[in-house]
């Protein structure tokens, strides 16, 4: 479904500030697959996330979804950013989830339930009255409401408490079983096998590790790869 072949990206190409974000990445993601992208700061994780979500056109290689360039995939691919507040455009939860879609209250309520929020409790609440974790789940509901085929999440667990994190892990697992492909960019690997069946590690823009998550976590190879990648 999603194919990356020889994908690389150079920021500010042709200027004195040119710097490589990604190099020669080959990757394929099937329908309903879950992928964890790990690596140190500056390793290219966010660049990969933006390319997968069609927000950035790679300067090298091919990135496509069902044979169509990813940057032309429109609502079929979606990206949830680390700072949820920047993704919320309407004053109340219900208005925000429905934003950009023709959906009514029942569909909004469904989207809120999917991310583990009680519609009766939160639908009419103001966005700025929500906690950080709740804002993140509302942003997720807004993306899910557009029924994407690929959902990319950049550091979705940062700043969440244990309960918020557990809920999000459960939500991601549930989304995958509904056929949505999920890519999670994160430094947090706890319970990763519940939402990702594969894990890749990036180092200086190159993919240096690609293994099934459960094995990589349980036999410690993921941590060895991360340590080696610095």
């Amino acid at each position: 479904m999603i194919r990356l072949a020889g994908v690389g990206h150079v920021y500010s190409q042709g200027t004195p500030w040119a710097r490589r974000g990604l190099e020669a990445v080959d990757l394929s993601i099937g329908r309903g697959d879950g992928l964890l992208v790990a690596g140190a700061n500056g390793s290219g994780k966010t660049t990969l996330a933006w390319i997968l979500a069609g927000m950035l056109v790679p300067t090298e290689g091919v990135a496509e979804l069902d044979g169509e360039p990813l940057h032309q995939a429109g609502p079929r691919a979606a990206l949830a950013f680390q700072h949820a507040r920047l993704q919320l455009f309407r004053p109340t939860v219900g208005q925000d989830v429905a934003f950009g879609t023709p959906m009514g209250d029942p569909e909004v309520d469904d989207a809120l339930r999917t991310v583990g929020l009680d519609p009766v409790e939160v639908r009419d609440r103001r966005i700025d009255a929500l906690s950080g974790g709740q804002q993140r789940r509302v942003a997720l509901a807004g993306l899910i409401a557009r029924r994407p085929e690929l959902l990319v999440l950049d550091e979705p667990f940062s700043g969440l408490d244990a309960e918020g994190r557990a809920t999000l892990v459960e939500v991601l697992g549930r989304l995958r079983t509904s056929g949505l492909s999920v890519v999670v960019v994160s430094h947090d690997y706890e319970d990763a096998d519940r939402f990702a069946d594969r894990v890749v590690v990036l180092e200086s823009g190159r993919m240096v590790f690609d293994e099934p998550t459960a094995e990589a976590l349980h036999d410690g190879r993921l941590f060895a790869a991360l340590e080696e990648a610095g």
């Binding site: 500010s12 200027t15 507040r85 919320l88 455009f89």
Partner: protein, 267 residues
């Protein structure tokens, strides 16, 4: 009508305006205050009464400074297509205004005064951007505040809060890349929620409204956090002033600035 936002040209790119070019050159080695004085003196002189001769002299100064600073051609800002379309449209509108001098084309007399004025003012804006770019390419952000502290020292005599003004300005400039990055994310977030590019005026206005309101909320929150952090560290403190060293290059730059400023005013 809306269309899918899919053209490669719509990919999010970095904005490199006024960014430091890390090379060693005589212009890089100049004291930041010297460059600020040159920028302000020449900029004010050419803006006071813009004329083609003065502007050409300043254009020469910008080109020579950029060459001496070993700034690669790739550093020159590239403007998006919509910018040049806007410039072209304003030229057409200015052209219709006519005015002296008149151009005689066969039996036709065309007044090009409006176009001439448009050309001078547009060139002036590009020149001011060029002067600022030379300062940005050759001066580290951290060197600006100490230089400003020295240059603005006389204002302390009239009890102006010089340190506060400098620190506030420096913080504002330092936060510019953060703001640009935030706008980039906002634009991308909006595209993630509504991938169709708005085409009707109402849709465009609505998009701008959404992005600006969200940016404002986020900027206010960030400013509050920054103010708390500054307070927690005991306030802004005072800026350590830097002094110019009396080197031949500094003296030469002051002389060139004086000559160019005088030439622009007197021409």
């Amino acid at each position: 009508m809306s269309r899918p936002a899919s053209a490669p040209g719509q990919a999010v790119t970095e904005i490199n305006l006024l960014r430091y070019v890390p090379v060693d050159s005589p212009v890089h080695r100049l004291w930041a205050g010297t460059k600020i004085v040159a920028l302000v003196a020449i900029g004010v002189a050419v803006s006071e009464k813009p004329h083609w001769y003065g502007e050409l002299v300043v254009a020469g100064v910008v080109v020579v400074a950029a060459v001496l600073a070993r700034v690669p051609i790739g550093a020159v800002p590239r403007f998006p297509r919509w910018f040049w379309i806007g410039v072209g449209l304003t030229a057409v509108i200015a052209g219709f205004s006519g005015g002296k001098p008149n151009l005689h084309l066969g039996g036709l007399t065309v007044g090009v005064g409006g176009l001439d004025e448009w050309g001078r003012l547009t060139f002036l804006v590009l020149l001011l951007l060029g002067l600022s770019s030379v300062l940005g390419w050759t001066t580290r952000m951290a060197d600006l505040a100490p230089a400003l502290s020295t240059l603005m020292a006389p204002l302390r005599l009239v009890r102006l809060p010089v340190d506060e003004i400098i620190v506030t300005s420096a913080l504002a400039v330092r936060c510019l890349p953060l703001l640009v990055d935030e706008m980039r994310i906002l634009h991308a977030a909006r595209r993630a929620r509504q991938p169709e590019t708005p085409e009707k005026l109402r849709e465009i206005a609505s998009t701008l409204h959404d992005i600006l309101v969200t940016a404002l909320v986020s900027a206010v929150r960030r400013a509050q956090e920054m103010a708390d952090a500054i307070e927690a560290r005991g306030g802004v403190g005072s800026v350590i002033a830097s002094r110019p060293r009396l080197r031949p290059a500094e003296v030469l730059t002051w002389l060139v600035t004086a000559v160019v400023t005088a030439a622009v005013v007197l021409l």
